[in-house]
C-alpha cells in the first residue's frame, strides 16, 4: 500500500511516461493512456469514426484512419493538433506503414482497393484492386510483401511492394479481419472473424501451414470471433483478440496450441504492447474500456475507461 502510494507520488510528477494511444470509433477522439499510472492523461478530437491508428517510426507523427471523413489524418502527438490529411481513398479502415517509414498502405473498405500513399509527398502512389471489403493489413518486416485481407472475398492478397501488383491470393475462412507477419518474416497469421479460425501461412511458399481453432467452456462457438493479433515481444506467443467472446487467446507461435484464455472487456478488437514490453493493452469496443494484461503473469490487472467504442491502439515510448 505504502509502496504503491510512493510510486504514485513519484509518478504524478510531470515526468513523461510511455503511452498507449487508442482511437474511439463513436466519440471521434483518441485517448492517451499513461503506461505507468494506467490512467487516461489526454483526449484529442479527430475526424469522424477513427479506427486504424499507427505511429511513424520516429513517433513524431500519428496516423489515424478517420473512416467517415474519408481521410487519413496526421496528428502531432506532442500537441494533439491535426497537422494535415493524406489522400486515402474512400472509407479507410486500417493501414500499415512500410518499414521505410514513408509509404502507407491503406484498405479502402467500400472500394475494394488498397491505396498506397507517400506520406512525404502526400500523393497516392498506387491503387491496387483487391477483393471486396478489404480490411486486414500486414507488411513483411523487410517491406517486400504487403498483405491485404478482404472480408467478403475471404482472401489474403499478397502484394509485391516494388511492382504494387498482387503476386498470390490465399483463401482463408469467412471474413478475414487482420493479417500479421511474424517478426522474423517467416510466417503470416490471418484471423477469420466468422470462420472463427486463424490461418497460418508460410511466407516463402504461401502455403497454409496451420489452422487454429478456439474453444471456451460456456461460450457459444459463434461468439469466438478472432480479430486483432499481436506477437509477444519474444515472438514465442501470439495474442488473438476474440471479439464478443470477451477473451484474449494466448497461442504458442510454434505449436499453434492455445495455451490459455484471458478475460477482458466486451468485444475486444485490437491490441498494443507497451514500449517496455511488460504489458498488453486491449481495446474493448462495447464496454468502452482498455484492459491491461501483465505479460509476465498473463493476468489482467486493470480495465481503464476510455471513449465510446475504442477500436485501434498504438504505443509510443517516452518522448
Amino acid at each position: 500500500m505504502i509502496r504503491t502510494l510512493l510510486l504514485c507520488t513519484a509518478l504524478s510528477l510531470p515526468a513523461a511516461a510511455d503511452e498507449i494511444w487508442v482511437t474511439n470509433e463513436m466519440d471521434d477522439t483518441v485517448s492517451v493512456i499513461d503506461v505507468t499510472t494506467l490512467e487516461v492523461k489526454a483526449t484529442y478530437p479527430t475526424g469522424e469514426r477513427p479506427r486504424g491508428v499507427t505511429f511513424s517510426r520516429d513517433f513524431k507523427r500519428l496516423y489515424i484512419c478517420a473512416s467517415d471523413s474519408d481521410a487519413v489524418q496526421v496528428m502531432d502527438p506532442d500537441t494533439g493538433d491535426i497537422l494535415h490529411e493524406l489522400p486515402s481513398g474512400e472509407d479507410p479502415e486500417q493501414f500499415v506503414i512500410a518499414p521505410d517509414d514513408r509509404l502507407l498502405y491503406i484498405a479502402n473498405e467500400d472500394d475494394a482497393i488498397t491505396t498506397v500513399v507517400d506520406t512525404e509527398t502526400r500523393k497516392v502512389v498506387a491503387q491496387i484492386d483487391v477483393g471486396v471489403e478489404p480490411e486486414g493489413m500486414g507488411i513483411s518486416p523487410d517491406g517486400t510483401l504487403q498483405v491485404t485481407t478482404s472480408e467478403t472475398t475471404n482472401m489474403a492478397h499478397w502484394i509485391d511492394t516494388t511492382t504494387h501488383k498482387i503476386v498470390a491470393n490465399s483463401l482463408v475462412d469467412s471474413r478475414p479481419r487482420h493479417a500479421e507477419f511474424s517478426p522474423d518474416g517467416q510466417v503470416l497469421w490471418v484471423s477469420s472473424e466468422i470462420g472463427g479460425t486463424v490461418t497460418v501461412f508460410d511466407v516463402e511458399t504461401k502455403a497454409e501451414v496451420g489452422k487454429i481453432r478456439f474453444e471456451i467452456p460456456n461460450i457459444r462457438a459463434e461468439k469466438l470471433q478472432p480479430v486483432g493479433m499481436k506477437f509477444s515481444p519474444d515472438a514465442t506467443k501470439v495474442f488473438v483478440a476474440l471479439g464478443p467472446a470477451n477473451h484474449i487467446a494466448v497461442v504458442d507461435a510454434q505449436s499453434y496450441a492455445v495455451e490459455r484464455y484471458i478475460l477482458v472487456g466486451r468485444r475486444v478488437w485490437h491490441m498494443a504492447i507497451s514500449p517496455d514490453q511488460t504489458k498488453l493493452f486491449t481495446t474493448n469496443g462495447v464496454s468502452g474500456d482498455v484492459t491491461v494484461i501483465d505479460l509476465a503473469t498473463l493476468e489482467p490487472i486493470k480495465s481503464i475507461k476510455v471513449g465510446r467504442f475504442p477500436w485501434g491502439a498504438a504505443a509510443r515510448p517516452t518522448p
Binding site: M1, I216, P217, N218, I219, A245, N246, L263, V264, G265, R266, S287, T291, V292, E299, P300, I301, K302, S303
Partner: protein, 262 residues
C-alpha cells in the same frame, strides 16, 4: 493470575476443535456445500463472459471470483449456526450447566465459546480457499493474509449470532427451523451471490434489505480484504453487529432470565 482463564479458553477451544475434527462427515459436508456452489453453480452461471467492474476489482472477473468471498462467508455462517447447535446440545446434555458454573465471568465463558466456534469456522475456510486456489481461482498471499483478520471478525460476528439464537431456542428440534429462517434469508439477501447494483435493478426494497443485512457487510469486508483493501463502512457494521449480537447473547444467558423463561 491469567493462567486460569487462559486454561479455560484453551480447554473450550480444544474441545470444540476435537469435537469438530472427530466428525469427519461434518468436515466434508462443510466443504462440499461451498464447493458445489463454486464448481457447479458458478461454472454454469454466466461465468465465462465476466461481470462488470465494481470495487475492489480493477478489471473484469469471472463469476467464480466474484462469489468466492461470499462462499467464505457462507462457510462461516453455517459454522456459526452449527456451533450454536452444539450449544443447544450442550445445554440439553448438561455440559453447558457444568461450564457456566466455572468460577469465571459468564461473558468470558461465552466469549471463549465464541472463539472456539470461530476457530472451527476458520479451519473450514482455510481448507476451502486451498481447494479454490487449486481449482484455479487467483489468490495472492498478501490478499489471503490481509483477509485473515476480516475472516476472524466475520467468524466471531456470525458465531455471536449463533450464540444469541441458542440463548433463545431451547430445543434441538426447533433449531433446524430457526436455522432455515436465519441462514437462507441472510445468505440470499446479501451481496454474496450478486452485486448490490444487480439487486437494485430488480428491486429497491431487496437492495435495502441487502444493505441492512450484516452478512452483506461481512462478505464485503472479506471481499475487499482479499485485495488488500479495507472497506471501512463494512468493518464498522460488522463490529457493531458483533457487539450487539454478543451483548444480547450474554444478556440472554443471564441465570435470572434463564429461570424466568423456564
Amino acid at each position: 493470575m491469567l493462567a486460569h482463564p487462559a486454561r479455560a479458553v484453551g480447554a473450550i477451544v480444544t474441545r470444540e476443535l476435537r469435537r469438530y475434527l472427530s466428525q469427519r462427515a461434518r468436515f466434508l459436508a462443510a466443504l462440499v456445500r461451498p464447493l458445489i456452489w463454486l464448481l457447479v453453480f458458478a461454472a454454469g452461471f454466466r461465468a465465462a463472459l465476466g461481470l462488470s467492474i465494481i470495487a475492489p476489482y480493477q478489471t473484469y472477473i469471472t463469476y467464480e471470483t466474484y462469489i468466492l468471498p461470499g462462499l467464505c462467508g457462507m462457510i462461516l455462517l453455517f459454522s456459526g449456526m452449527q456451533s450454536s447447535l452444539s450449544l443447544v446440545h450442550d445445554r440439553e446434555s448438561g455440559a453447558m450447566r457444568l461450564l457456566l458454573t466455572a468460577p469465571l465471568p459468564r461473558w468470558f465463558l461465552l466469549g471463549a465459546k465464541l472463539l472456539a466456534g470461530a476457530v472451527v469456522g476458520l479451519v473450514q475456510v482455510a481448507a476451502f480457499l486451498l481447494i479454490a486456489a487449486l481449482y484455479g481461482i487467483k489468490l495472492t498471499w498478501i490478499g489471503v493474509i490481509s483477509a485473515l483478520p476480516a475472516l476472524i471478525l466475520c467468524a466471531l460476528m456470525l458465531c455471536a449470532l449463533g450464540l444469541l439464537l441458542s440463548a433463545r431456542v431451547r430445543q434441538l428440534e426447533n433449531f433446524a427451523g430457526v436455522m432455515n429462517f436465519v441462514i437462507f434469508p441472510m445468505f440470499f439477501l446479501s451481496t454474496a451471490l450478486y452485486p448490490l447494483w444487480k439487486m437494485q435493478e430488480s428491486s429497491e426494497f431487496l437492495a435495502w434489505l441487502c444493505r441492512v443485512n450484516p452478512f452483506t457487510h461481512a462478505v464485503e469486508l472479506i471481499r475487499f480484504a482479499l485485495y488488500g483493501q479495507l472497506n471501512l463502512p463494512a468493518l464498522g457494521w460488522t463490529v457493531l453487529a458483533l457487539i450487539v449480537f454478543f451483548g444480547l447473547a450474554v444478556w440472554g444467558y443471564e441465570p435470572a432470565r434463564s429461570r424466568v423463561s423456564r
